[in-house]
């Protein structure tokens, strides 16, 4: 039988937001960690490391996120490991986010003037110190705005996890719609909730861009 769309359905949708946020958070933290490794590899002095990281970025930027989620989810099942949808979605999104953040941050690292590298090298600072004390703190300033911008993209990307059966906001919308048959209303509300999550982030990104974009020294 067809149910009515009541406040219970509405709160079911709202409560699914925590799974969207959890998945976003895991993917962002994981993606940022791995992304830093990718960015450092892309700017490393070793050709083979740059090439490896370049290939990684090429693969993950050049294929649909949905296919990546499928491959992680069904790939794991194929080798006999049973992954729950959250783990599969988190792994897929992390790998994907790492490629994009790695590429964004590579640009930020390379935007630091050559003179900063030369001065720290001439002072005898080693790679780790040079990166930690000189290059990354300056690159981080430039990176803040585009990183928050990417986070907006990531929050919306989590909706694809619904297809491998993880019940986050979009999947919750499908469930409610299956019971109520009010697709326009249900997905309208789902979209509005995404907007409510992303809009403040977009505003924040713009604010950060103004703040860090002008003060470069």
């Amino acid at each position: 039988m067809i149910r009515q769309f009541t406040s219970a359905e509405f709160f079911f949708l709202v409560s699914a937001v925590r799974w969207t946020l959890l998945l976003s958070a895991i993917a962002f933290v994981g993606g940022a960690t791995l992304g830093l490794v990718v960015a450092l590899a892309r700017t490393s002095p070793w050709q083979w490391l740059r090439a490896t990281a370049g290939a990684y970025i090429l693969v993950f930027q050049g294929t649909p996120l949905l296919m990546q989620l499928f491959l992680v989810f069904f790939g794991a099942t194929m080798v006999g490991a049973s992954v729950d949808p959250l783990a599969a979605a988190a792994i897929g999104l992390t790998l994907n986010a790492a490629a994009f953040l790695g590429e964004i941050w590579r640009g930020c690292i390379q935007a630091i003037p050559k003179g900063q590298w030369e001065a720290s090298t001439a002072l005898g600072l080693h790679y780790v110190t040079r990166m930690r004390e000189i290059i990354l703190p300056q690159a981080a300033k430039i990176a803040v705005a585009p990183t928050v911008g990417f986070l907006v993209l990531l929050v919306k990307s989590t909706s694809l996890a619904s297809i491998i059966g993880f019940v986050e906001l979009t999947r919750a919308g499908q469930i409610v719609n299956n019971a109520t048959f009010r697709p326009f209303l249900v997905f309208g509300i789902v979209a509005a909730i995404y907007f409510a999550l992303c809009w403040p982030l977009s505003l924040y990104a713009r604010h950060l861009e103004k703040r860090f974009g002008t003060v470069s020294r």
Partner: protein
């Protein structure tokens, strides 16, 4: 002004060799930037290198601390071969200070932090020790009151003096200057040159790429003229400026001393 007074009275040429460059070759792709360069720099010697742009003078000093890697010949700094091992390279970079045309101070660190970073991280000094040394050299370049400002808050001349202090904090045996006054407004050139002159009087081994011929006359033991990747001519400033032997040197000096 004062005449150059080396720290000890032995003529520069008889003191031990600090930097030896023998048959140094450097290519950028197919471009031959340094052609069989031979140069011995003795302890306490002050050398000025001049020459037209693209003559290889910056490349030459950048090969000494391996900001550029040379492809042929050898460079030995205070007994350590440059480019043979990474440990040797660390040693050379810790002993050789460099001052750049564009200052290259670290904009996110205060003046004091700029000066203490390498002594702490490379020499392993305690923060207090490093700060004491930094303040000593900031006083030396006459800007101790700017210690807690950021580089962006200083004038170009002040920034370059901080850059000199930053290099001195590592207690280097050699200082390399790569056109240190070329990016400065004219009224700030003197304060930087004065700092360099006082450093020269203290017996620092210095190699300066510069077009400041007044500075060369006043402090240099030897002036070197480079063109097209070669050392064309060298000599003490008196003879170098009065009787340049090569036509290329005469043409160059005519161009830069004319106005």
């Amino acid at each position: 002004m004062l005449t150059p007074a080396p720290a000890d009275s032995t003529p520069a040429g008889e003191r031990p060799v600090m930097i030896r460059m023998a048959g140094v070759e450097k290519y950028y792709g197919t471009y031959h930037a340094l052609k069989a360069v031979n140069l011995d720099v003795h302890q306490g010697e002050r050398i000025v290198i001049c020459g037209p742009s693209g003559s290889g003078k910056s490349t030459l000093i950048r090969c000494i601390n391996a900001l550029e890697h040379h492809q042929g010949g050898e460079i030995v700094v205070d007994g350590t071969q440059v480019g043979k091992s990474s440990r040797g390279l660390d040693k050379v970079r810790a002993e050789v200070g460099m001052v750049f045309q564009s200052f290259n101070l670290f904009p996110h660190l205060t003046v004091l932090q700029n000066c203490t970073l390498a002594p702490r991280k490379v020499r392993g000094l305690a923060p207090k020790e490093a700060e004491a040394i930094a303040m000593k050299y900031l006083e030396r370049v006459r800007i101790p009151e700017q210690a807690n400002k950021y580089p962006g808050q200083l004038s170009g001349g002040q920034q370059q003096r901080v850059a000199i202090a930053r290099a001195l904090c590592m207690a280097p045996k050699v200082m390399l200057f790569d056109e240190p006054t070329s990016a400065l407004d004219p009224e700030m050139v003197k304060e930087v040159l004065d700092t360099m002159i006082s450093l020269a009087h203290d017996g620092m081994t210095m190699i300066c790429v510069t077009h400041e011929m007044g500075f060369a006359r006043q402090v240099a033991d030897r002036v070197i003229f480079m063109d097209k990747g070669e050392i064309v001519e060298e000599g003490p400033p008196a003879t170098f400026f009065a009787n340049p032997k090569s036509e290329r040197t005469r043409t160059f000096l005519g161009q830069i001393l004319h106005h």
